[in-house]
């Protein structure tokens, strides 16, 4: 080869060559912050639904929770001597903040958001070493912490704007005193019951020959004809601001499933277990608990099943384990809802199953390629 052509051809500069171990290419879509961004996007429909139903106070709670969560994460990193902006770039604090807000009533005061953010980010996550090391879902740690510390505030629910507008129709959910307040235009003080709380307490006028539950459920379904279930589905009921709209959560959940960011088996196992369990209980004893569809659509089941039980850090790593996890969550939820002291059990069930994850991981291992063949003696 002549010198002339050698000079014309540009060759790689060995000085600039990186030497590292294989693999040399990496999927461009797989980044922690990208995963978190998708989770945030998939939470947006529920956030919009929350603001739609509960008005600007809901937006305020969401923003406060996100801002406080991010600030506490930064402050924690500063105290630990880590880079202040190091971990907030992964957006996990924003996700936690949103989930925390979704678990609060739209009527909570600002300091509940602050304490909640501290419980979630500080005690739920950072104290264990940050993202990846926390055994429990941070937002649920905060919800349960707040529920124990401030039971009154955490179980006081505000009615949706539509419920206030048509207050007489929803008279089962709104107390007589609050009806007076609504008529007087004092909307700040108005509270209402969640459908689950309503079913649990069944504080309805006693009718002859009927149990309180039967009477209550009849009333519930009788609101605007059959709109009771429709209201449950779209979220026009009292409850935490992000958990009431099964429809919005379903849209976000389907987005996450289609992006393969969560395993579809988890929500299916969770919701399916609740449906089957409550269906059986309702068939055996209709006076014990409402029907399955009511249970599936009410409370925090969709939020829990699509966004909390699927939390990567605090759920099992194998698909087999994730299904066991989902079924476990469903069973505990039903036990609490049907026979427990609380009307709602999704938060507790996920936290209890979180604690069992190391055990599930241990028993739900995959059998590596070729091990069954070894046992079966397929070797020649």
């Amino acid at each position: 080869m002549s010198e002339a052509t050698n000079n014309e051809i540009r060759m790689p500069n060995p000085e600039k060559l990186i030497v590292s171990s294989s693999p040399h290419i990496h999927s461009k879509s797989q980044e922690i912050w990208k995963i978190m961004l998708w989770v945030i996007l998939s939470l947006l429909p529920a956030a919009v639904a929350g603001v739609w139903f509960f008005g600007l106070p809901a937006l305020e709670v969401i923003l406060l929770c996100v801002i406080f969560s991010v600030m506490i994460e930064m402050a924690w990193c500063m105290i630990e001597g880590k880079p202040v902006f190091g971990t907030i770039k992964d957006l996990s604090a924003v996700v936690t903040g949103m989930l925390l807000a979704f678990n609060l009533s739209a009527g909570v005061p600002w300091w509940i958001c602050l304490i909640g953010a501290f419980l979630a980010i500080g005690l739920g996550k950072q104290i264990f070493g940050g993202l990846g090391s926390n055994p429990f879902n941070p937002a649920l740690v905060a919800r349960v912490g707040l529920l124990i510390a401030f039971p009154k505030i955490m179980t006081t629910w505000v009615p949706t704007r539509q419920m206030i507008a048509e207050a007489p129709t929803y008279s089962d959910f709104i107390s007589r005193a609050d009806m007076v307040a609504i008529r007087a235009g004092k909307l700040d003080a108005v509270t209402c019951a969640t459908p689950l709380g309503f079913a649990k307490n069944a504080v309805t006028p006693q009718l002859v020959g009927r149990t309180p539950l039967e009477a209550g459920m009849e009333k519930f379904y009788a609101v605007d004809g059959q709109d009771g279930l429709w209201n449950l589905f779209i979220g026009n009921v009292g409850g935490c601001l992000g958990e009431t709209s099964a429809l919005a959560l379903l849209i976000g959940g389907i987005l996450l499933i289609s992006l393969k960011l969560i395993k579809w088996q988890v929500p299916l196992a969770f919701i399916g277990t609740v449906a089957v369990f409550t269906c059986i209980v309702n068939m055996v004893s209709p006076t014990t608990t409402p029907d399955a569809l009511f249970h599936v659509l009410s409370g925090g089941l969709f939020l829990g099943a699509f966004f909390m039980a699927t939390d990567m850090v605090t759920s099992p790593m194998t698909t087999k384990g994730a299904v066991i996890f989902g079924i476990g969550c469903g069973l505990i939820t039903c036990l609490i809802r049907v026979w427990g002291g609380y009307p709602e059990g999704v938060s507790f069930s996920i936290l209890i199953m979180n604690a069992l994850v190391p055990l599930i991981d241990r028993f739900a291992k995959k059998i590596p390629f070729g091990y069954k063949a070894l046992e079966k003696g397929e070797a020649i």
Binding site: M1, N6, I9, R10, M11, P12, N13, P14, K16, L17, I18, V19, S20, S21, S22, P23, H24, I25, H26, S27, Q30, E31, I32, K34, I35, D90, G129, G130, L131, G132, S133, M312, V313, T314, S315, P316, M317, T318, T319, A322, D361, K365, K366, I367, P368, F369, G370, Y371, K372, A373, L374, E378, A379, I380
Partner: protein, 445 residues
Amino acid sequence: MEEVQKKKFTGGIHPKDNKELSSGSAIQNAPLFEKYHVILCQHIGAPPKLVVKTGDTVKKGQMIAEPGGFVSAPVHSPTSGTIGKIFDVPGPSGVNQEAVEIIADGQDEWGSGLDPIPDWQNTAPEVLKERIAKAGIVGMGGAAFPTHVKLSPPPAKKIDTLILNGAECEPYLTADHRLMLERPEAILEGASIMARVLGIKNVYIGIESNKPDAIAGLNAKSEPYKVNVVTLKVRYPQGGEKQLIYAVTGRKVPQGMLPMDAGCVVQNVGTAAAIYDAVTQGRPLVERVTTVTGEPVVNPGNWLVRIGTPIADVIRLAGGVSRTPGKVILGGPMMGFAQKSLEVPVMKNTSGILLLDQVDTVQFTSQPCIRCGKCIDNCPMDLLCGTISCFIENEKFDKAEELHVMDCLECGACAYDCPAHRPLVQHVRRAKAEIRARKAKQNPK
């Protein structure tokens, strides 16, 4: 006869294959260069012994190093000329290796001392096997295990199937693809020779469905050779030995065992063509098809290059680079070796020289595992990669071993998708080395 794969392995990934860069360009013969640096030990096994000295004249195909044992292979001169220095050159693994410099005389005159065996159908299998050994043929797909050893299973193992690996599942590489397109008869006849050596009838060739022209071409010619062409799903690592056997035969190689324990022998298509040359032409393995590709390469393509050609010369054949690459890799992007020196010579198992752009070679910082389980879903061996990696990070090698880290084939499907950019494959390599070292300490031989 065309067949569809019997089974699909679980996991795997489907990265953009970028094969269109070079798959359309026919194999070109590299010109004769002035000097070659032939590394002596190009295979797994005992290093060969040098049989020439500085100043000797050699013919093309003449043996310059003889096997150092049974699991070993000879090395031959890639051209006629004089033996120059015997010195250390940078090897593909980053470690310097002993090499022989051959100064070409320009005649390129054959003199291998191996006679063609045109009538191999009536030649004793032992003779054919000896020829394969003498021709220095090793696995050309990557592992470089001496082929005659693979063709000598212990009598207790009942081999009934030979599988040619034409999956070429690594992105970018097209050398096997072009070889299947351009030399289908050589591959099929090479396969028939191996079938005769093994004394078996079932011969398959597994090809990923993204090479329909190669599948059609081999199919059209396969009838007289009684080779079954199996179309495989495009899924990395489909060309992994155990995954290929599973796809083609539905058999799983039992853990810790070899393909022969599932009654199979797997050979690369390039190896089959080399066996054809060795037996019917009397030509030892002195050249191979290699892909020079990657976005920075001016004219990506496939070249028939002599073993011992410094990769700088091969990159120059492809017109050099249009911009500074970030990495030069021997092999594919998933399992290849990144190089620091362009003096590294082409080896018997160099299936490709891949240049990656600087933007594609960003170095990531490892973050804590977020337990997303992507690695576990991707693992073709169904291992708990993420958990294993966390154990290794904390130097708990015994725990990693309990989770079967030794079964990892280091395909990199886990690390490819890890959102935390964890160096999973490096962790596994470290654990394997530590565990082997501990075992060696416990049972010194």
